[in-house]
Assembly symmetry: D2
Homo-oligomer: 345 residues x 4
Amino acid sequence: MLFELIIILRPESKEAERKELKKFLEDTGIRYNETDLNGLPVIHIIENPHLLDSRIAEDFSAVNRAVRLSSPSPLAVQDKLRQKKKTISVKGHVIGGSSLTVIAGPCSIESYDQLRDIAFLLKRAGINILRAGAFKPRTSPYSFQGLGKTGLDDLKRVANETGMPVVTEIMDTRDLDIVSSVADIFQVGMRNMRNYPLLKELGKTTKPVLLKRAMDAPVEEWLLSAEYILKEGNENVILCERGVLNAPSCNGRTIMDLNGILDVMERSALPVIVDPSHAAAERSKVAPLAKAAVAAGTDGVMIEVHPNPHRALSDGFQALFPAQFEILIADLRKIRELIQSQEKR
Amino acid sequence: MLFELIIILRPESKEAERKELKKFLEDTGIRYNETDLNGLPVIHIIENPHLLDSRIAEDFSAVNRAVRLSSPSPLAVQDKLRQKKKTISVKGHVIGGSSLTVIAGPCSIESYDQLRDIAFLLKRAGINILRAGAFKPRTSPYSFQGLGKTGLDDLKRVANETGMPVVTEIMDTRDLDIVSSVADIFQVGMRNMRNYPLLKELGKTTKPVLLKRAMDAPVEEWLLSAEYILKEGNENVILCERGVLNAPSCNGRTIMDLNGILDVMERSALPVIVDPSHAAAERSKVAPLAKAAVAAGTDGVMIEVHPNPHRALSDGFQALFPAQFEILIADLRKIRELIQSQEKR
Amino acid sequence: MLFELIIILRPESKEAERKELKKFLEDTGIRYNETDLNGLPVIHIIENPHLLDSRIAEDFSAVNRAVRLSSPSPLAVQDKLRQKKKTISVKGHVIGGSSLTVIAGPCSIESYDQLRDIAFLLKRAGINILRAGAFKPRTSPYSFQGLGKTGLDDLKRVANETGMPVVTEIMDTRDLDIVSSVADIFQVGMRNMRNYPLLKELGKTTKPVLLKRAMDAPVEEWLLSAEYILKEGNENVILCERGVLNAPSCNGRTIMDLNGILDVMERSALPVIVDPSHAAAERSKVAPLAKAAVAAGTDGVMIEVHPNPHRALSDGFQALFPAQFEILIADLRKIRELIQSQEKR
Amino acid sequence: MLFELIIILRPESKEAERKELKKFLEDTGIRYNETDLNGLPVIHIIENPHLLDSRIAEDFSAVNRAVRLSSPSPLAVQDKLRQKKKTISVKGHVIGGSSLTVIAGPCSIESYDQLRDIAFLLKRAGINILRAGAFKPRTSPYSFQGLGKTGLDDLKRVANETGMPVVTEIMDTRDLDIVSSVADIFQVGMRNMRNYPLLKELGKTTKPVLLKRAMDAPVEEWLLSAEYILKEGNENVILCERGVLNAPSCNGRTIMDLNGILDVMERSALPVIVDPSHAAAERSKVAPLAKAAVAAGTDGVMIEVHPNPHRALSDGFQALFPAQFEILIADLRKIRELIQSQEKR
């Protein structure tokens, strides 16, 4: 009964107006029942309601309101309806399970040495997954655009040496093969949440996809982007919140949208990871936002850490120093433990 | 050196254009120095820069940019600059100190009985301050508008019987005396954050003022509203975040703006309380938002609780049931303890 | 049949769950019919639906969706439903009729001389209504707050000398008598759109009220504020758009919300005036925005003009020079004429 | 002197703190001068300032403020600085010149017949450019995704038969060749404004690119996306506004951002086209928004028109009926004439 739709007609609408609507529905291949709601005429659509945009329906003069009763993204919400939490396994680490997922690393791969040093530090700290970008979507064409293929080679080498699973961004359908040869998880950045050709291609693979929410996307639209991947057959979607744009916070500053995170967790069983580094957009706020995200019950965090943030080629103002990072992770694990003991009751 | 301003001139500007600006400054009573920044002509304003709107300055053809170097709300930020945390004492409870402040109660006073029952329950749970509204700002004129003076009488009676300090909303300068006769803390609701005549009157009292942030107010503007109160001589301002409006969250849904909260805590030493009930706007999200707010290091929470939320005359969909509330408070206290032990390091 | 509401139940809900809802409705004094929508159980509320918040209804476990079919502000929309345009007469000028309304003047009254000079200039240009503020709501307590009572005296004198009707702002219920002794139209500024005690007092008068839209108010909420005035018996509400806050426009910059203006014109027959000065927030954009507003079919404009904008005590960066203003008004009148000839077809 | 940057130091900063900053600048390859601004220490960066993010600079403890004095998108603003309006010629029609550009057509290509019929109607109405999409970015994977390659074939055939130049959307770098074989102008949809690999590829062609603004993009970021294309050597960028997302307008409703349009016209000489169909998102608002856009002085409009909007496979609720469209175009041309006569003065 997904996608169910009811169309409430204006009681004063004329027969000719109603016929116009019904003819349209029939021509479009939508089956419906006419019924009566205590005097209000109603058309109830049970078959193929996804073929009908509710705004199109409301455009007919006979119609008062068209109301959708079910989710537009059935695959993204199905496990939730079955009360089954979705878990995703990556080289032995389970995302969406009882233990906190920590993904960390530099924003960009800058050199083999930089990456290896930070990766071994993260491995020692027990971090689950290494993040590092070779293809970097940057607002300005004059900013560092990532090392590209060379960066991927560095990442592959470091992944092999540390044995850590890696997540790295893909921006272009033409890069599918080379990124796939390195990534354990594909990252879709916020700017590509609506890059549907890319989402479709990723849906044809079996590798997990970490899907970042665009800064202006309602939760419904984020789930529809997940649906693009799920519909092609790939069930392994990880949702990642990285902050939303907001009027009162101006200057391009973002807000970590905990309300949206809780909303998506109420609707979907897909794992939800929070990226407090981008949501904070400055170093001093990363730790309190990360603590808040864990206290709110999310599945994990993705954090930028850099051996020397001032010299980072991208996002340096928000990357943590290694020492800060190690303290934060220990703190987060204790908060997670406390929260889980509270939720078990 | 508060309010310092520099005006960077266009190198190609003509002498006549510069004279126009300087004459204006002199006429306005602003003292300045002309100086040179490596070839760039600059006017440096040290005296009375608050008399000059930077947009007015940029309106002169000679000017490239006018840049403010200091805070427009000097009183709201002064303690922070001195690294002194502001604390406010209310009947023995210290707000802004080491212990978590918990303010709780029903949205509206509905009757003496309703209020007394919930108040004694809160007292037993060790809640610090009772909240309850007699004057209710409601979006629709057809919604319940509060019991008004009768409600204040009920609140006074319950305050006396329980010995709890109370916070209640004031909406109209004409109500100052009657609200003052009951309230230990004046609440200024989000809709009145820009009611400057009211803020000025409250600034002339000595009672603490809990100043809610308007849903579209940047942090700078929130602090300027605090400045209205501080400037009149009342030092006891408590800042209260209740969620901001946000494009991606539509439908009037708000977001708890943790980024803004952290921002205001970095700028000002005034105590910061979070209202997760309004920020959540639905019951199921109140607890995780409250936990997140405490994990992020805020001074306390203000939570709506009602003996029978479905029958509440206002905000029933976000009020907690008493049993939920008691569990939440116990949880929040443990999180506070953990966070404080982490921050002490 | 205003305020009609239908509650669609979950087909799988248990009888006990439905009883809980129905008992609640009965206790609240809401009459309803139980009905069936092609198998979907539905509760149809015809009497007193305004007593029920749809979110409260959706809070019951038996409920899938609660859908409102009619406007929450019946008085604000009633003339539109009857296809009758509302007109308001002020000293011979008709607002909402076929001729364009032009309201103009300085932001603040700065002195009798300043005001008299600009007023006679406006009178000669055929401007319909003089605007000038004595009470100024300013974001910073350090900004010029208006001349207050002295300013009102100046305004009264100039109004008498020119014979022009005047609109001036009221911010405080305590000022009702003194403002009323001067104003032909009360202005409610955007910061007071939610000052309900003030709206109620103005609703008890018979003078027209120019109600500015708050920068974050949805159209629905703007109409509800109008409803506060209408409900008390004052039918003479003029809606005034002054720009909305918007994520992509940051820096406190506003956007003239033509979509919202068109929306309110589709719903309500109340006259709609646009304030391009505040919507522009800088002089260079005032003229094109004003032209656009007239081309879109609004009833008039309210424009800030000042003999010497650089020396204005408030909003100088957006006030027009008198010469610019005179050209603009002539241009607007021609655009109005063209648009009206196009609409008549 | 594009990209100039000044860094204002804190007077109380220690020598060691300043050295840390200066060492960083030197290592990054940024040349600077140290200077003094009336007692305030300042670092003035003239060479390679684009290598430095102002937030990175402000991250150093020695720094008070880093202020950029010039545009981050030098190519997009260069003609404006030279007071030269950019014009783009497409099969004899000049975009950005004195005559209004009208681009029109259906949202999607649905069949050869549908497209041919509407195209001949547009040709007769003197429309300059035909729009029609073969690749459709849709929020839901269940919505019609466009006819793809088949649609392009239809478009090519109709373009040949009518002789009209066409604009059509490209979503995927892999489609460059096939789209290029049909399109006279590439359309980059709002969802791809940040698809940098695509922008770079289009920058390597010589065909005009119509670049839609993302619904949450500040003007600065829109120009930076244009800069991606310009930097690769393609000078023919047409900016297209299609509405922005805005808090008060909720429900995914957009606002035509005239303020942003005026802003981009003040900064850049690139032609600016407005798409009132998407900005309106419902048929009844298309005409007034189009009139407003023309009255505000933009270079043209892009409008959706469909032989039978109710049966359109996409965006039917906002497409005009042919008869409405023809009246609107005649009206727009008269408004344009009037506005141009007013601007010439």
